[in-house]
Symmetry: C2
Subunit: 265 residues, 2 copies
């Protein structure tokens, strides 16, 4: 079982914390500095046990994204990385004696795009980048550090983001509603996009349980409290309900598009 | 009584909210969009009554700062604005028949530089910009939206910022410690730099008082609660203790440097 997730977002927006929180582990990534000359893609592969299934998870981080003073080509290393994985798969697929069954599929199944919680709208870089990525990978945009935004600000912010994405023709991943068993849940989840998430490596005692939380002098944000943020929804949708659909859309849509263009050249 | 304050920081970082909060008024600024092609400086002058003193306050906003994909010249319109105010004063000062007493001094007395609360470090744009500004204006850096950062993260973040400023030779404004009446307070305040602030236009009932606050499902951040953020320190230092010193340093140091270079050309 392979699952490959690409995280795109500015340094310090909470990507590594979110990965730790989603997969309930400490991935021990070294925090990157702000002064890298360009965007680098760093991939780490881990073996996780999710229930009784062994999951080979690859987390790809867009290191240095958004940090440069000139961000004109920030999207390019990301697109190059995604294409390189498609290309590697294509080369294997074209072989006469091929080993697809044992091939370690590194194609990116989803891109978690981290939106800064300004409360206003998307940034120019966000729109440019997502437009370059939307035909190559399933984009799931999330509002990062959602504990920065009050409930009333959040509704306006989510509506603004969705309308900007639509106005700019950016295709984001919608949870599939054709399968009856998940249609209701997925339909409802689609109305909460983009998910406003909070991540935490720390645990705090609430009642008699230890829960993932961020403790402030004025209160404690509980990551898994659905009144506090959409983390549980994201985890449900990403890991429990739609992992298979994310893999399938990657193979039957995004990869096929790449393959057709590549073979037509 | 003139006081001119320049706010520099990305769109959505909380500048207009902070101005409303600091001066206890609703400045009614229209929120700016993220897709302006360049940085524009917008100045608004207001008459405020601070105790029994009439204050002619000018708030200058760096609209569009940090929004462009290419931010190479982001600092330029800001420096041009500051220089233009110095130049206007110089022209008046050089006149034979001059009206300095009734001249509306528009020189920038302080620049509040809003640092994004990433929790990691300063951004490349912050260092470049502050380096361009530090010989022209008193810079008071503040950590914006400090309710995003826990107490333990904040100490590390403040230390990182101060060491980065020092390592890059950026001169920020330190509260003066030569005047005995304010030396102790100012000395102590200098150790809390950069101030981590929270702003709010909303009021919430706490006990039987209405206080400026941001209400979250997990608790309420009280702007004027010194356990919650450094807002009270900022207001004290900026408006109550050091307004005069900020005006004097602007005139006797920053303006003098401008005048000398200008007249030497
Ligand atoms: N307010 C808030 N801070 C967070 C959240 N997640 C992470 N952080 C903090 O943000 C800082 C940067 O997080 P990190 O995961 O290293 O960001 P990355 O550079 O995108 O990987 C750290 O101080 C985290 O503790 C969140 O959901 N809310
Ligand atoms: N978490 C948090 N949000 C804030 C704070 N101050 C302002 N905001 C919110 O951030 C958003 C942008 O604020 P605004 O003052 O318009 O930012 P500006 O573009 O820099 O002038 C609004 O939704 C504000 O309510 C703060 O101290 N903390």
């Amino acid at each position: 079982f392979c699952f490959n997730i690409l995280c795109v977002g500015e340094t310090g927006i909470g990507k590594s914390t979110m990965m730790d929180t989603l997969f309930n582990t400490n991935f021990d990534s070294t925090p990157s500095s702000h002064d890298l000359p360009g965007v680098k893609l760093k991939a780490h592969t881990y073996e996780l046990r999710e229930k009784n299934v062994l999951l080979k998870l690859t987390v790809v981080d867009s290191v240095g994204f958004g940090d440069q003073i000139n961000k004109e080509d920030s999207w390019k290393p990301i697109v190059d990385y995604i294409d390189a994985q498609f290309d590697a798969f294509l080369q294997e697929e074209l072989k006469i004696k091929r080993m697809l069954h044992s091939y370690h599929d590194s194609r990116v199944h989803t891109c978690l795009y981290f939106i800064a919680p300004t409360g206003h709208s998307l940034k120019a870089l966000d729109l440019v980048t997502m437009k370059k990525l939307d035909s190559k990978v399933n984009i799931i945009p999330v509002i990062a550090k959602a504990d920065t935004i009050t409930k009333s600000e959040l509704n306006k912010f989510k509506a603004k983001i969705m309308s900007e994405l639509m106005a700019n023709g950016v295709q984001i991943y919608h949870f599939p509603v054709d399968d009856e068993t998940v249609a209701d849940t997925n339909n409802s989840m689609n109305t909460h996009l983009p998910f406003a998430v909070v991540g935490s490596n720390d645990e705090v005692k609430i009642g008699n349980k230890m829960v993932k939380a961020r403790q402030y002098p004025w209160g404690t944000v509980q990551v898994e409290n659905e009144n506090h943020c959409d983390f549980v929804k994201l985890r449900e949708m990403l890991i429990r309900t739609n992992m298979e659909d994310l893999r399938e859309t990657t193979h039957f849509r995004h990869y096929e598009l790449y393959r057709r263009h590549k073979l037509e050249e």
